[in-house]
């Protein structure tokens, strides 16, 4: 069986989490990129195509 072939002849003391670390690093990278991109929009929210003014719905 495949599991038997891959089994080592000794036990490592610490569990290896190489893949998790990779995912973590890439997620940090994405977060930094997203943060930088958000800064490019300046400090003010603005969605396009608004009217010039608005004063409520008359409620």
């Amino acid at each position: 069986m495949e599991e038997d072939i891959l089994k080592g002849n000794f036990k490592v003391k610490n569990p290896i989490k190489a893949n998790d670390e990779k995912v973590e690093k890439s997620s940090v990278r994405e977060q930094l990129r997203a943060k930088a991109l958000a800064s490019l929009g300046g400090s003010m929210v603005y969605m396009e195509r608004t009217e010039l003014t608005w004063e409520g719905d008359g409620e």
Binding site: R29, L32, R33, A34, K35, A36, L37, A38, S39, L40, G41, G42, S43, M44, V45, Y46, M47, E48, R49, T50, E51, L52, T53, W54, E55, G56, D57
Partner: protein, 347 residues
């Protein structure tokens, strides 16, 4: 267009599209929070401004804080020619106006940044806020701000304390508390408004959430206080002829790229500087044929402004004499011609 130029333009536009709206979630909570914190002070609104009369009602100059204001001596020229219309300055141009002996009728402030904006009015926490922030070193308006000196800041505090009572401050509910405190300390006359940040007809509208807190009238901003100042002149003051200065939406061609306002953010976004040239676009200003360039942020601001301009009721002239703001909807004219034509109407 060569394929290289095409790739560059595509990359540029791709970043612009990503910029549009990306800050929504990031800033939404701040805007709601500031509107709540400012509620006890938001007693008068922009709808309660006394009506303008005479020449103040007939024309206005909007003074934004682009690099041309400094390079073209726009403020000094306006002061020297004795312009009698309404003078509307953005926060970043206010001190420069006072130093030139030009007292703005109105000063607009919008940005919620917790430590930077207060410096436009003289900052009591200058040293603390200046640590590890080179934002002002990348401002082109006034060397006084680039030098970041303690002495200059003290002078600014004194100037605003002495002359703050002479202007009306058109303050957004998004303003940080230190700006509100500083303007009250300088005995400024405050009139409040909300930034119109999205379509209030949408059920999840952020504008509607903010409005529910304070019921203040809302004005579109295009993402920048300069554009908000034009909206104020056009739609609140209803001034029929408006000139713009310092509305560059870009940089002089000899400005090093690393001195542009979002350079570090672009480097981070690209994960290096090898493609950085793709983040800038060239323009030729039609009056002078001088070359300028812009970055995705200012290109986006420019696009927002031109979109809002389609709804204008005033005649609007770009007297910046530089930059990237031109289209079939806005006439570029020399500042002296604009000021001269206003004098001609008076004679």
């Amino acid at each position: 267009m060569s394929s290289g130029a095409g790739i560059k333009e595509n990359k540029f536009k791709e970043i612009v599209e990503q910029v549009a709206g990306v800050g929504y979630q990031r800033h939404a909570d701040t805007l709601v929070k500031h509107a709540g914190l400012n509620l006890p002070d938001a007693k008068r609104t922009i709808k309660q401004l006394p009506p303008l009369v005479g020449e103040k009602a007939r024309s206005a100059i909007v003074i934004s804080a682009g690099p041309s204001v400094y390079k073209r001596n726009s403020i000094k020229r306006i002061a020297a020619q004795g312009f009698r219309g309404s003078v509307i300055a953005v926060d970043g141009a206010y001190i420069a106006c006072l130093k030139a002996g030009l007292i703005p009728d109105f000063v607009l402030t919008l940005d919620p940044h917790p430590s930077r904006i207060v410096r436009w009015f003289g900052d009591h926490d200058f040293e603390k806020h200046a640590e590890a922030d080179d934002y002002f070193a990348r401002q082109d308006l006034d060397m006084a701000f680039r030098k970041n000196s303690i002495e200059q800041n003290q002078e600014h505090i004194k100037l605003v304390d002495q002359q703050g009572h002479l202007s009306r401050f058109i303050i957004a509910s998004s303003a940080p508390r230190n700006v509100v405190k500083r303007l009250k300390e300088a005995k400024g006359d405050l009139y409040w408004w909300n930034p119109l940040v999205d379509d209030p007809k949408r059920p999840d509208s952020l504008t509607k959430r903010i409005y529910a807190i304070n019921k203040l009238p809302c004005m579109a901003t295009g993402g920048t206080v300069g554009t908000a100042s034009w909206v104020f002149a056009n739609s609140i003051l209803k001034i029929p002829r408006i000139g713009l200065v310092g509305m560059d939406f870009g940089y002089y061609y000899d400005t090093p790229k690393e001195k542009t306002q979002t350079y570090y953010e672009l480097i981070h976004h690209l994960e290096g500087d090898s493609d950085i040239d793709q983040c800038f676009m060239d323009f030729e200003f039609p009056l002078t044929k001088e070359k300028f360039y812009t970055d995705p942020t200012y290109y986006w601001y420019r696009r927002n402004f031109l979109g809002l301009l389609e709804k204008k009721t005033s005649e609007t002239y770009n007297c910046t004499e530089a930059g990237t703001l031109f289209s079939e909807n806005i006439q570029c004219v020399n500042l002296d011609s604009f000021l001269g034509s206003m004098r001609g109407e008076r004679a």
